[in-house]
């Protein structure tokens, strides 16, 4: 069985993973989504029993779905080459999503499991219910007066996107809140503390502490130092909670964001189903990449892989 990597060759996560697999001499095929459909063709057949079969084909080789043991997919829609038409993009998306949601093998991660991060307030009750983790008090409003009253209640307040679009987290003050808003914003009290990113791969948990003076460490200002990442061992209860969250969201790989206060309280911000983990890991050790490569090489070691195996049996 081979491993299929589906993603753009320009993506750092994809390029680091393929390098790792090459070093480990693990057989894999990388289908660069930018090469669809000019280099690679795909056909996905759905039978009257609901079985999915098909293949990826290029000039020199074809890969039948039954020969695929695991799939790693990265930012599927974003990584398509410039589409000739919207219909072509939509159709390509439908074909690949059918495959990835239905194929009986380990998929990191299936498209159907990635939706919750597209509307962040949806994750909060889920996080609380499944893991018991704390989430920040949150208000969503398009009314500047209501944002201002939140600022008056909490003092320092941050605003972040409601949707899955990547946008800089910024501070909101009364003056800012009194300006007309162009749409709803999500505001939360600013929590003082240290950022921690936890990556879950199957049942493996790898955590990094982020040292930064910026409001949003991903976007330091010109006069601010870059963030510093350091591997830490998370408490056992936190690891267990993160694995539980990941499994219940039907994910195999997740990046979970926390802030830890000086009194040891852990606040969970979100679960990212397509984490940019190479940003956090040491480029020499590549621990997260190695864990992902291991899960792909030995898919039955993960709960999702075992579920896939049961489905096959």
């Amino acid at each position: 069985l081979t491993i299929l990597i589906l993603g753009s060759a320009c993506d750092d996560v994809v390029s680091r993973l393929t390098s790792r697999l090459e070093i480990d001499a693990v057989p894999f095929v990388h289908v660069n989504t930018a090469d669809l459909p000019d280099v690679w063709s795909v056909v996905v057949e759905v039978s009257s029993q609901g079985d999915v079969s098909g293949q990826f084909i290029n000039r020199s080789e074809s890969i039948c779905f039954e020969d695929i043991g695991a799939i790693f997919v990265r930012d599927l829609l974003d990584s398509f080459a410039q589409p000739s038409s919207l219909a072509a993009t939509s159709a390509s998306w439908e074909v690949l999503v059918t495959l990835l949601n239905s194929i009986d093998c380990l998929v990191i991660n299936r498209p159907r499991s990635q939706g919750s991060n597209g509307a962040k307030p949806l994750q909060y009750p889920f996080i609380r219910r499944i893991s018991g983790l704390q989430v920040p008090s949150t208000r969503v409003s398009a009314d500047g007066r209501m944002v201002a009253s939140f600022v008056q209640t909490y003092g320092e307040v941050i605003a972040k996107s409601v949707s899955g679009l990547r946008r800089k987290v910024h501070l909101v003050d009364l003056q800012h809140a009194s300006r007309p808003l162009t749409g709803p914003i999500q505001v939360q009290p600013r929590i003082d503390g240290i950022d921690v990113r936890v990556h879950v791969i199957g049942t493996s948990v790898l955590a990094h502490r982020v040292t930064s003076v910026s409001v949003d460490y991903r976007f330091p200002a010109a006069d601010e130092p870059s963030p510093v990442f350091e591997r830490i061992e998370p408490p056992r209860w936190l690891s267990d909670a993160c694995v539980r969250l990941t499994v219940d969201l039907e994910l195999v790989l997740a990046g979970i964001d926390f802030r830890v206060t000086s009194t040891g309280e852990w606040f969970c911000f979100e679960v990212n189903p397509s984490p940019f983990y190479t940003y956090f890991e040491d480029s020499k050790d590549m621990e997260v990449t190695q864990a992902v490569a291991k899960a792909l090489s030995d898919p039955w070691s993960t709960e999702a892989g075992r579920r896939g195996k049961r489905a096959i049996q």
Partner: protein
């Protein structure tokens, strides 16, 4: 108790208009809002996520919204036209509105037809291909399909022809959802679906009730084209298919849906698609009225007691 139902629908949606009239006849207040005006309607909305997101949804002086009938789905909700309130250039703002509304409808404990899934998604239609895992789990016969991604003029060999046994009236046709892909010709990106010569059987699921109808004639057409005939359907009963439809919608967590089967009267009817915003243009009037009546009962259960 005073009820207020928010109906999010396009202006020409007859089913929405029928539901609005039926609700008003029972003294339920109704606000019908087109998707393009949702941002204006929600401009003063404020939701603290520990509370119910519909609790604070009201226009000045109006009764708070107690239920929602959502008659737009999929990309239609995502593409909220930024009229008036929102900067037309601000795609980010549109995405934020979309995510806010999806969260609101998914998380409220008040009745919503149909509620987006726990991860905020509500496709307008589940194609036969996307229903594959459900059909497999429930042992249902599924309309076959072939999806392909292929360059229009590949310099190497074509993707092989679908190798399915074809009945005399069978074969495959291009799906309307991927229109523009060149019909059944290869060398294109799109999806082909099995073609039937059969009756279209529609199972309209409303909560735990199922109301069925079928086309008077058999059609040798792809499933989307069934809608184009002017012939009205007739009421129909098939307890076995009704049970199948209920099971499918239960897995999809839909309260209001139309499940389409192709029934040639000889083999097991084939599951073709599920629509979350059903249309009733060809429906038997009695069936349509039953769906309206039971939909508003789900929206405002108190008005019946």
């Amino acid at each position: 108790v005073t009820y207020r139902t928010l109906i999010i629908a396009n202006r020409r949606d007859e089913f929405a208009a029928d539901c609005a009239a039926a609700l008003q006849a029972r003294s339920v207040q109704v606000s019908v809002v087109e998707p393009g005006f949702l941002s204006t309607y929600l401009a003063s909305w404020c939701w603290d996520t520990e509370q119910d997101p519909l609790g604070a949804l009201r226009m000045d002086g109006e009764t708070p919204v107690s239920s929602v009938l959502l008659r737009v789905a999929g990309d239609a909700l995502a593409a909220i036209p930024p009229r008036g309130y929102l900067d037309p250039e601000d795609a980010y703002g549109a995405a934020e509105w979309d995510a806010s509304i999806r969260s609101m409808l998914a998380l409220t404990k008040q009745p919503v037809l149909n509620r987006p899934s726990w991860c905020g998604e509500l496709p307008g239609e589940f194609s036969s291909a996307s229903l594959a895992p459900i059909a497999k789990a429930l042992g249902l016969r599924l309309q076959r399909s072939v999806g392909m991604i292929q360059a229009p003029a590949p310099s190497y060999g074509d993707v092989p022809e679908p190798d399915f046994p074809s009945k005399p009236a069978g074969g495959f046709v291009g799906s309307r959802s991927t229109a523009g892909l060149g019909g059944v010709s290869h060398g294109a990106t799109g999806r082909l679906v099995e073609r039937f010569h059969a009756h279209a059987v529609l199972a309209h699921v409303v909560g735990s009730r199922v109301f069925m109808e079928r086309s008077r004639s058999r059609w040798t057409l792809s499933t989307p084209l069934w809608q184009r005939t002017r012939e009205r359907h007739i009421a129909f009963e098939n307890p076995s298919l009704a049970k199948d439809a209920l099971e499918v919608t239960s897995v999809l967590r839909l309260q209001l849906a139309s499940v389409l089967f192709a029934d040639d009267g000889e083999s097991q009817p084939a599951l073709c698609r599920v629509r979350t915003v059903p249309g009733f243009a060809r429906s038997d009037p009695v069936v349509k009225q039953a769906v309206v009546d039971h939909s508003i009962e789900l929206l405002c259960p108190g008005v019946w007691s």
